[in-house]
């Protein structure tokens, strides 16, 4: 796992002049972003700012219109070592018409490592258990995921990504709508991953308990990177369910960050 070569330290993710569009409408314009090995980077932005599109394009789920993406020094098109990347989507996939246990869902995270032809072995089982222990859900391994709370389901998804022992974790709004206890467990698991040398790229609306982990925040506004630097300090009422994102007291250096905030209520996508 987190064995760093010189190339890794240079760049886990390198995005240059990326443009992305759906149905003729451009969502991202000329975005460049570099994440070095071991770094924890948060992509912040309002709904519809294009922040989720950015990571989905990095992962190859959305095609890029222009620009280049490198993963661990290899062009994304040619990148095959997907076991090094652990993806944590916003929520459990839609296809859940049939019951599945927590252990079964997390075991999917091993497929990138072992391939589709080899059956699960002892190492796979051990990795699944270790990942579930890491997020505090080992006692639920045999329970159907549908019986878990939203926060526990989210922790199941991070366990699935961790089970593959990735070098880079990419998380799409991991704490959106997650209860406080699960957010803490989530933050702790991510902290251990980062401490082990892992690289994290996450999209967030609110950082919450993840904030102390973040080395660098990138603010996406209207499809461009509007700000890059240390994560913005949340105001006291920021964590309130109904906070309105008005910051008359904001210091000058934070003005750029808060600029995007009023667009918060827009739901362009």
């Amino acid at each position: 796992m987190h064995l760093m070569t010189a190339a890794d330290v240079k760049g886990a993710v390198d995005v240059r002049h990326l443009a992305v569009g759906y149905d003729g409408r451009e969502i991202l314009h000329d975005v460049s972003l570099a994440v070095t090995g071991g770094e924890v980077v948060a992509i912040l932005g309002a709904n519809g700012s294009g922040k989720s599109t950015l990571i989905r394009t990095i992962l190859g789920l959305v095609p890029a219109a222009r620009g280049e993406i490198d993963l661990f020094g290899t062009a994304q098109r040619k990148f095959r070592d997907w076991a090094r990347v652990g993806y944590v989507p916003q929520r459990l996939g839609a296809g859940s018409g049939v019951p599945a246990t927590v252990g079964e869902v997390v075991a999917s995270g091993r497929l990138a490592r072992r391939g589709i032809f080899r059956p699960a072995g002892a190492a796979d089982k051990a990795a699944v258990q270790a990942a579930l222990r890491d997020v505090g859900l080992l006692d639920r391994i045999g329970d159907p995921v549908s019986t878990l709370s939203g926060g526990q389901q989210q922790r199941t998804l991070i366990a699935r990504a961790l089970a593959g022992r990735p070098d880079l974790l990419v998380l799409d709004e991991p704490t959106a709508g997650v209860d406080a206890a699960s957010q803490e467990a989530f933050a702790a698991a991510l902290g251990r991953f980062a401490a082990g040398g892992g690289t994290i790229l996450l999209v967030a609306h609110e950082l919450g308990p993840l904030r102390p982990l973040i080395d660098r925040a990138v603010v996406v506004h209207e499809g461009r990177i509007a700000h890059e630097g240390i994560p913005p300090e949340p105001a006291g009422h920021h964590a309130d369910p109904d906070h309105d994102h008005v910051h008359p007291h904001a210091a000058l250096e934070k003005a750029a960050i808060c600029e995007w905030a009023p667009a918060d209520r827009m739901t362009a996508g």
């Binding site: 992962l59 993806y87 049939v98 246990t101 079964e104 589709i116 959106a176 709508g177 206890a181 609306h205």
Partner: protein
């Protein structure tokens, strides 16, 4: 039972048991993906294949496998491409399939309503030894594919985007599923008929998941229910002289009702007996 002295009854039973096992093993992935009715659609397309076979005086089973596999791949490609018009495109394919089948069977030398009914609702008793060999071989292939690739197919059906990011050959696995569905539909055509094929893929899964907790256990129980329903269905239909396909489906549905009712009763009793489990506080929504 005396009936099973006859070779044709033995063949009927073997064919039914193979399909009873294979259909739910495949159907579970379709149900998981919320595509429960896809088998029905491919069944419609397979009828065109039957028509082609009868018209060209070739084995209808082989031409049905080919045409329905092409149809299934077409449906899968439509599904991968656009999402908005997929529903409509599927409808066009389905009705084109059944209309084409009825017209082609009508044009063939052997055009009779009885012949058409044989494919629409199954005709287990007329299964030839050659048919049984095909059913057993293809059924075994379906079973092996569904079991060997279970983790990968589960991952794809459970969360396709995650599977893509894991580097799994998602497109190939989807096409494999499509072709396997077509094969299963065609071999089940002899047992339950094209109009009831989907029932054997879906009903045992629906019954099993009333009481199971995991995917693997659901698959195992669904296959057991499918096997049981097929076996009992053939025996009962021979005894009381009903259509074997329809009888099998009714028995599977009865199993669903019984398991759903039984499972519900057990859960209610358990809930009353147990102290309520400690639950996490409801999720706090952090943004508006």
């Amino acid at each position: 039972m005396d009936l099973f002295q006859y070779d044709f009854m033995i063949r009927a039973l073997i064919g039914a048991l193979v399909i009873g096992l294979a259909a739910p093993a495949l159907g579970i992935y379709l149900v998981q993906r919320r595509l429960s009715l896809i088998g029905d659609g491919i069944g419609h397309v397979a009828l065109t294949g039957v028509g082609v076979g009868l018209l060209l005086h070739h084995s209808p089973v082989i031409s049905a496998v080919i045409v329905s596999a092409l149809g299934a791949v077409g449906i899968e490609l439509i599904r991968q491409r656009g999402r908005t018009s997929g529903d409509l495109a599927l409808a066009l394919l389905f009705y084109g399939g059944i209309a084409g089948g009825v017209v082609l069977v009508g044009l063939s030398d052997d055009s009779s309503n009885a012949n058409l009914m044989q494919y629409l609702f199954g005709s287990l008793i007329t299964t030839s030894p050659q048919d049984v060999v095909i059913i057993v071989a293809l059924g075994a292939a379906v079973l092996i594919t569904m079991t060997v690739f279970r983790p990968a197919l589960f991952a794809v059906c459970n969360d396709e985007e995650y599977a893509k990011v894991s580097g799994l050959p998602v497109r190939t696995l989807n096409l494999l599923m499509a072709v396997t569905t077509a094969v299963t539909v065609t071999i089940a055509m002899r047992t339950v008929g094209l109009l009831l094929v989907s029932a054997l893929m879906v009903v045992p899964v629906a019954a099993a998941q009333q009481v199971t907790r995991g995917f693997r256990s659901t698959m195992a129980l669904a296959m057991l229910i499918g096997l049981g329903a097929a076996g009992v269905g053939v025996a009962v239909s021979a005894e009381v002289d009903t259509a074997p396909g329809a009888t099998t489906v009714i028995i599977a549905l009865a199993a669903f009702v019984a398991i759903a009712a039984g499972g519900g009763a057990v859960r209610a009793l358990r809930r009353r007996a147990q102290h309520p489990r400690e639950v996490e506080p409801p999720d706090v929504v952090l943004q508006g």
